[in-house]
Symmetry: C2
Subunit: 165 residues, 2 copies
DNA sequence: TTGAGATTGTTCGGGTACGAATAATATACA
DNA sequence: TGTATATTATTCGTACCCGAACAATCTCAA
């Protein structure tokens, strides 16, 4: 916290810089906090849970999606993980090198590639996932219990906008 | 949206995989949606506002922080932007190459480096920022007006946890 | 005043991250 | 049957992203 500016300081300063513009500060605060929260939470989880197993956030996410849906097409993994297929190609190569996942050509359609976990990958997730969830519980501890569902709902409303054609 | 699984489908599948574990699904939904929202919103803004000026999300963020606080130490810029100082070094080099910002050695302390915008950089922000905010307004349009402040507040509560020693 | 310890920005190595171009495969229609 | 069109995963080029190691600079006590 040391050295960082408060929300009030920032808003005062922004108003000063932008006094001649018409702006929606509430919308600004939402997106701003959304990114601060996402990157803060991500860094926290990477340091406290993932670093021990040498997994990046994205690698874990891909592993998780595969764990839930395997065997699953890479197209779906990319979509569910929120990354591009170009990025996924690299991450899958990493996971194959670490022997957590394998690629298989689809028998029905030669263009498609299916992803599955190795036994080693499944073992890892069995260990990692509960530890991960424990940290998630800690993270939301400052948000009142009765508001958490609403928070998840509002976040989904943000997602739904970007999914419109 | 095509091809992606719904929340209900995912939760059903996760429960099946994890029936023998004790998990907090609400905490899971919050972090999961937090990241989906952040990456969706980020990609949306990069495509609809930033791509025209050849700026990445992070480059814009750094430019924005500098615009508000200049002249400002790189240490503070990194903190406020939520990136590491190693990353900032690269981004600042990009911004200097594009002639949007400049580095200056601090006269008081030889270790410190101060960042300021060029006139070109300030002109860019004068144009870009209102366009950016317009998109932000669109993005929160699916979240009821009366809930937006609360959303921003809850996101700050998430941030506050990670800031504890 | 000198030297141990702290602070700061950069470099380095490895892993994401994206859009655009590409190659391989499948589909549709003539 | 063949050929245009569509869909898929990969490659390519460039930029971001971090922790760790590093060199430069400052601080402060002996």
């Amino acid at each position: 916290m040391t050295g960082s500016y408060t929300l009030v300081e920032t808003e005062a300063r922004v108003s000063h810089r932008l006094s001649h513009m018409t702006l929606d500060f509430e919308a600004m605060a939402v997106t701003h906090n959304l990114f601060r929260a996402a990157s803060a939470v991500r860094n926290h989880l990477e340091r406290n849970v993932l670093s021990e197993s040498g997994l990046s956030w994205t690698a874990f996410l891909v592993l998780w999606v595969t764990w839930i849906w395997e065997p699953v097409e890479t197209r779906v993994v990319a979509l569910e993980s929120g990354i591009s297929k170009a990025t996924l190609t690299g991450v899958l190569s990493t996971l194959e090198k670490l022997e957590y996942a394998v690629r298989t050509r689809s028998p029905d359609d030669g263009r498609r590639v299916l992803v599955t976990l190795t036994d080693k990958g499944r073992d890892l997730m069995e260990d990692l996932f509960p530890a991960f969830n424990l940290q998630e519980v800690d993270l939301v501890s400052h948000v009142p219990v009765e508001s958490r569902t609403e928070l998840a709902t509002m976040l989904r409303q943000l997602i739904s906008y970007t999914e419109e054609a």
